[in-house]
Symmetry: C2
Amino acid sequence: MDDLDSAHPAGGNGATPRPRLEDVAARVGLSTASVSLVLRNVAGPSERTRRRVLKAAAELGYRPDRNASALASRRSRLLGVMVDIHSPFHAELVEHLHTAAEEVGYDLVLSTLTRTRDESTVLETLLAFRCEALILLGSVSPAPVLAELDRKAPVISVGRRIAEADLDVVRTADDDGVGQVVDHLVALGHRSIAYVDGGKGVIVTDRRRGYRDAMRRHGLDERIRVLHGDITEAAGERAGRDLLDSGDLPSAVVAYNDQCAIGLLTALRRAGVDIPGTVSVVGYDDDALSRLACFDLTTVSQNAEEQARHSVAAAMERLERGRTTPREIVLAPSLVVRGTTARTR
Amino acid sequence: MDDLDSAHPAGGNGATPRPRLEDVAARVGLSTASVSLVLRNVAGPSERTRRRVLKAAAELGYRPDRNASALASRRSRLLGVMVDIHSPFHAELVEHLHTAAEEVGYDLVLSTLTRTRDESTVLETLLAFRCEALILLGSVSPAPVLAELDRKAPVISVGRRIAEADLDVVRTADDDGVGQVVDHLVALGHRSIAYVDGGKGVIVTDRRRGYRDAMRRHGLDERIRVLHGDITEAAGERAGRDLLDSGDLPSAVVAYNDQCAIGLLTALRRAGVDIPGTVSVVGYDDDALSRLACFDLTTVSQNAEEQARHSVAAAMERLERGRTTPREIVLAPSLVVRGTTARTR
DNA sequence: AACAGCGCTTAAAACGCTCTAAATTTGTCA
DNA sequence: TGACAAATTTAGAGCGTTTTAAGCGCTGTT
């Protein structure tokens, strides 16, 4: 039961057409060139002109057309960001990317990975928007693909180390993070500290290494105990049951990530194990999950804000200062002590 | 210690300039007009021409320039989406919006609410991208603002009922959702069913009404019991303690949302209450949280997919079929029975 | 007298595409 | 074979900006 007028060409509902530069110019009796200069805050126009133009623009409710200006200036002032929209950590990063980008006068284009949109689709989209640089959160593309992409626009890989391709990388030192966790536990008197592994990948390897190295550092070589795990809650539960079945409960368990830690926590608690009284549990990532009162999980924060700032800074160096040699920025993660770790009895 | 060349104008690292329509045209000895027709899949060009153009475009790795084509056609084929990037439910919606938009040949521009980006900033951004329609997830702008916005581009408010402004609305029947929950509990033999309220707002009112109406429908008028609450886990915990302190534990509690339900759950369990043995607990939203094994919360799903499809469909009716009278699309939510509800003993 | 410079302003040519109207080619049929 | 219609192709004028080079009416220097 629609009332269809003749196909109305995309736009508001019977709206007046958007004012253009020309309309502003006509209003003050100047050329579009002058108006353009004023609005872009470029030196040249006199104070008097500036004021008049600004006033006219405001009165008309003028908004420059991104497309037209991108076309003419050959600069989009857009940073493309690939995110996994289901990841709380990415959400955090995006939040800080926004503020960092704004400070340098850039806008963000978000393109999200979903079950039906793979990484190559996302990257296509970002390029179609003529983003000047690409910030990829948790990219899994093979290094050559990224290298190829980097020739079209500077690529900054966040969170994933990519040694093979000459790209900028911003990440936290995962081994160091787990190291801090072990230090913390040892300081609390723990000696039998187990580790529940992640699936596979560079990060997984780094964290595991962090655990092993730290244990050795504390002379706990023969106490090293790595359980099979994965990034899911289910994997954590399984690991928890394995631990219980083994009959040899460690006094502390470090999990690859928070999800896994929570599964672990659930399994142990369900079996009546007091946490942190009998066993301390630590996660990694400082997920929103870990902050829930019912978990209150000790974990490691990846400093979203710092990573975001460095990513944008790296993009700016490429874009505005012409840097061409890749940089790897490794940040120190920070331990977040909450309620699942305690002194041994 | 940077190696700076002369300021290189935004683009890849010493890359060749992007191929343009003209380059493709030159390669096959045709006009840009013909190439444009082929690439946009418009009727006209012969089969032979199509093939040749497609081949040449592929060889050159040609990608049309969004900006230029938007400018020329006065159509961006962009749908602007406002999201709260921290909301798992929005994430779900976005996922389905993507596929729905893709099916009708539109692309999405995501603009996200954060602590430092309020709704008006988000809407500005979306307009600057020349989005043809705006899909607002959980907008809280006053009706007049939205009405004003709607004159610039059709607005579709998702999840929030807006009676005062003449806009399209897509939402689920919140009262019905809570009604289904009560029905479910009554069918399990419950009679003393309490409700923990949300903060304030239209949705809050609807859900509370759903609870009241359903209780009356089952002749449980005098069993109606509404506890003060909010949308947070903390509020749920407080409500749980209130319940415990009152010394009059109901056999079932329905919470405004999952977050709140989880707080409630935690408080009750901590006090040794068996769930669902002694008390059944139900949430609302079907958050990722509710699916965690440690909660396994019975809840209500808002059918993200359906909402997304209807939103895009509504936008298409406005954009491509010129509908001008607003529509309100109310979908039925669906009960998701998990492990926190059980028959009374 | 010629002219470089001043501080400001502007005409006009891009930018890479779409679209209208018109030109050209092809096909059909007497 | 020519006339005419149908099928294909294209020239060229935008779209709303930015940017370049030139111009304004002077003053001051050679």
